[in-house]
């Protein structure tokens, strides 16, 4: 049986969605999170060029997906100085962020 994870899905809406520079800066910021050892896998994404169906939300700009072993590790991540620095240094780039925390069944 495959290992079960807590998936931390995060979607960011930039203040300046047309700014490739801001988008790249946020991607750079998210990359710094790789240094946090409780993150088992990290994916950073942008809108994929799939079909634009009614149910597909394409209003966001940058996504992040992290795999944690459990809620305790996710909390360690939230409080980790590298994460705190990320928020301090990059939060000015986004106007909205939405998080979905899903536990593998």
């Amino acid at each position: 049986m495959e290992k079960k994870y807590l998936l931390h899905h995060v979607f960011f809406w930039l203040n300046n969605p047309s700014s490739v520079e801001d988008r790249n800066k946020l991607i750079e910021g998210l990359s710094t999170l790789k240094g946090i050892e409780v993150i088992k896998k990290l994916h950073i994404g942008v809108i994929a060029s799939t079909e634009k169906r009614e149910v597909v939300d394409t209003s966001w700009d940058v996504s992040e997906l992290m795999f944690f072993e459990n809620e305790v590790d996710q909390k360690v991540y939230q409080d980790h100085p590298i994460h705190q620095d990320f928020v301090k240094n990059y939060a000015h780039l986004w106007r909205k962020v939405v998080v979905f925390d899903a536990q593998d069944v």
Copy 2:
């Protein structure tokens, strides 16, 4: 360098969010999608018990995350008879579905 994927994040809101039976039925339905060969990884989830912060959306009921190699494979999945059957047999369970398609950078 790690392989880059197209991540297909899907969140479902049930018609009867209080029905564990309906939730399990939808999870059972999503499990049938494993038979589709273009899906490289499949995660099925429910709300995790992480801290309820303002940015965390906890209004959904069931999540699905699929890894595809590219947009072509994602389209093959959309049109696949197993997926079409899933929609036909289980769509009555949900009132809302939101999709985020993210390309790994």
